[in-house]
């Protein structure tokens, strides 16, 4: 009995190494930063609202065995293009927000389909490929938005176009839809404003994910995630299902980006989506998810822990060493380090399982004398 308990504890520590590490770092840095609980609570609520939808978009590809979908950046770009159009047409309020989401759908489906097809051609290297694909599409995005818009694609509003006559400006003011979802059903706890409507939307997404897992498509994806060969043998169209998982993820990423930007209120046309992919993935991993297993709880915990660390690092660095810059570099380092550790743990575990399976297979094949 005791050995089993000890095994369980070790297993718990192993699977949750990253979040535990994070809690330790935060416990250490929090008092150093000097922020009040009320301020941090406010910040956490804001960041949950902003980022949770995006992080949840990553769950489906992990379920389907595609690993970390760095290609969610493509969905983010689709969302941004939707926002550019509604800003140009001057659609305000919730109408603008939902219209931007609807506009992003066809683009997200197209990009997600393309991404899925490319990933199917790079089986075994999905993560690197989706990572590079993100960079590549960034180039295409710039081609369209910095050169195409205003010249080939008609943009009526002059305020968002660069002075040279074509290309969208670096910062687009989303004053029309700013906080429109957040302020729809405001509830105040103390001095903190809680955007109930946005949380409701996020809750709907969670329900959708839970429901989806139970559908046939969801079951298929889980089967592929566990063992592609077995799934293929059971008659599942592996290639098509994988593409569908990426498409859904990309569409959700598009919606998430719209929610993210309506909270901030301004869109950095060329930079907003870059970090979004990396931070969402880092947050998910911090919440205890791994490359092949992720739950909703991971997403929520991850966003809280990751962004908490993000907020307190600069001040903690300043109070510790005297340079806020150190804290800022520290949080960049931690973000990348977290992804590195998770990737390494996943790869080691996979290799160990493979060796174990190989040994088991060899044992089973031993011919008795």
């Amino acid at each position: 009995m005791l050995k089993k308990d000890k095994d369980n504890v070790i297993k718990f520590l192993e699977t949750n190494l990253v979040p535990i590490l994070f809690v330790i770092i935060i416990a250490f840095a929090l008092p150093l930063s000097g922020f009040s609980i009320r301020y941090l609570f406010n910040e956490i609520i804001v960041r949950l609202v902003r980022n949770l939808f995006l992080v949840l978009a990553l769950l489906l590809p992990i379920m389907a065995g595609m690993g970390l979908n760095f290609g969610m950046v493509l969905g983010a770009m689709a969302g941004e293009i939707g926002l550019i159009f509604i800003t140009d047409w001057n659609i305000t309020g919730l109408n603008g927000l939902f219209l931007a989401m609807i506009l992003s759908i066809p683009l997200s489906v197209l990009l997600g389909w393309m991404c899925g097809k490319i990933l199917n051609r790079a089986k075994g290297r999905e993560m690197v490929t989706s990572y590079i694909l993100g960079f590549f599409m960034n180039g295409v995005y710039q081609l369209v938005v910095l050169y195409g818009m205003g010249s080939i694609i008609p943009i009526a509003s002059d305020s968002i176009v660069l002075s040279r006559g074509y290309g969208i400006r670096n910062a687009v003011n989303l004053t029309g839809i700013r906080q429109s979802l957040d302020r729809l059903l405001p509830v105040k706890i103390g001095t903190t404003l809680i955007p109930v409507a946005t949380f409701a939307l996020i809750a709907i997404l969670c329900l959708f994910i839970i429901w989806f897992r139970k559908t046939k498509l969801g079951h298929d994806m889980r089967a592929i995630g566990q063992d592609m060969a077995v799934a293929e043998a059971s008659g599942i169209d592996v290639a098509k299902t994988r593409i569908i998982s990426i498409i859904i993820s990309t569409v959700l990423a598009g919606f998430g980006m719209v929610i993210y930007l309506q909270n901030i209120g301004t869109m950095n046309t060329y930079n907003s989506h870059e970090q979004v992919g990396m931070f969402s993935i880092a947050a998910l991993l911090v919440g205890g998810a791994s490359v092949n297993r992720a739950k909703i709880g991971n997403a929520i915990l991850g966003v809280v822990l990751f962004h908490l660390m993000f907020v307190i690092s600069p001040m903690a660095g300043k109070n510790l060493i005297g340079q806020a810059q150190l804290g800022e570099y520290f949080r960049v380092f931690v973000s990348y380090g977290v992804i590195s550790i998770s990737l390494v743990l996943y790869a080691i575990r996979k290799q160990r399982d493979r060796t174990r399976a190989g040994i088991a297979l060899a044992d089973a094949q031993e011919v008795p004398e």
């Binding site: 490319i118 570099y329 996943y346």
Partner: protein, 346 residues
């Protein structure tokens, strides 16, 4: 006709398109009032600057570790060598070689650790390489602030704590190589010294690959079963390849700096692996096969495009699309290589 088809199949469409694109840029140059002399020498200079970092890809491709996205680790070793050289106050041409000397132990140690890590994660090398590279750059960002450097040319003015983001190598080894045997014909400047040095290093690598260890390394990548059967320690070979690759990265960045004129710290090395990866892929390499020829062709084509596009296209189209083209070309090339199914995959 089938001969042409065979060439197309062997080179692959993206490479053909890129080569033709570069050729057309050179042809258009005189019409865009761009001097071919300057363009050619600019291309050659950038070719020499980046060539060794592209070469750094070769050992790891040979040993089956894939494309070395973790090149920043080697670059950091080089940066450490460079900064310590300046801290010690060495100047002149010899400072270049001192920097190389100082960078080497760092490169070997980093490479050894990095190689061992990659051995534990066979099959996922490229993704982990990328993030190990990023994490180490971010880590060094903190270190550059904290390490006890004191040389006035390198440290922030007022407080005197922490290194500056960009450090000039003027007075140290600026153009140390390029100026050796430099040839000038009108507007055309040939950085003979740098090219000779690069050629020398390429030769060293080529020779190494033909030694017993080198061939063992290649065997590990192309036919691991045969290698193990011949008694080769696969993990050891892989680690050696990573160490060599990291060292080449260190050498490469120092050569780059002597031509560029500056040491770029902090986030400088962050994305530096990608152009090198793209270049060797453009030159004909794949994820598991690379030759020195690939390095030379690829570096030349890639740098040629980077040099010619801004000048030529700006004059003709009146639009500066060079940055966007660079992103699309380099990442598109890497994508193409990643999606090619290898024949006889294990």
């Amino acid at each position: 006709m089938t001969f042409l088809n065979r060439i197309i199949e062997k080179t692959g469409w993206p490479r053909l398109i890129i080569a033709l694109f570069l050729l057309s840029l050179f042809i258009m140059a005189p019409f865009a009032e761009v001097k071919i002399g300057t363009s050619l020498s600019d291309t050659l200079i950038r070719f020499g600057m980046n060539g060794i970092m592209v070469l750094a890809m070769v050992p790891m491709i040979h040993s089956g570790c894939g494309l070395n996205f973790g090149l920043p680790l080697g670059i950091i070793a080089g940066l450490l060598g460079a900064t310590i050289t300046i801290e010690l106050g060495a100047t002149g041409t010899s400072s270049f070689f001192i920097a190389l000397l100082l960078a080497t132990p760092f490169a070997l140690v980093f490479g050894w650790g990095y190689g061992n890590l990659l051995n534990r994660v066979k099959g996922n090398e490229m993704m982990i390489a990328t993030y190990v590279g990023f994490s180490s750059v971010a880590f060094m960002c903190m270190m550059w602030l904290l390490l006890p450097f004191s040389s006035p040319t390198m440290v922030w003015g007022y407080e005197g704590v922490g290194l500056r983001t960009t450090i000039s190598v003027e007075g140290f080894y600026l153009h140390a190589l390029s100026n050796i045997f430099a040839v000038r014909i009108g507007t055309f400047l040939l950085p003979t010294g740098m090219l000779l040095f690069m050629g020398f290093i390429c030769f060293l690598v080529w020779a190494f690959l033909h030694t017993k260890t080198g061939t063992a390394m290649t065997a590990v990548g192309s036919n691991p079963v045969f290698a193990r059967a011949s008694g080769v320690n696969i993990d050891r070979m892989r680690t050696i390849s990573v160490m060599l690759s990291t060292w080449l990265g260190a050498v490469g960045i120092i050569v780059y700096q002597q031509s560029f004129g500056f040491i770029q710290l902090y986030m400088g090395p962050f994305y530096m692996a990608f152009p090198a990866v793209a270049a060797i892929l453009i030159g004909g390499a794949s994820v598991n096969k690379a030759s020195i020829m690939n390095v030379l062709i690829g570096a030349f084509l890639f740098q040629g495009i980077l040099t010619m596009t801004p000048s030529v296209m700006n004059s003709i189209i009146q639009m500066d699309m060079s940055e966007v083209i660079r992103i699309i070309v380099s990442n598109g090339m890497i994508l193409y290589a990643l999606t090619r199914v290898k024949k006889g995959a294990h």
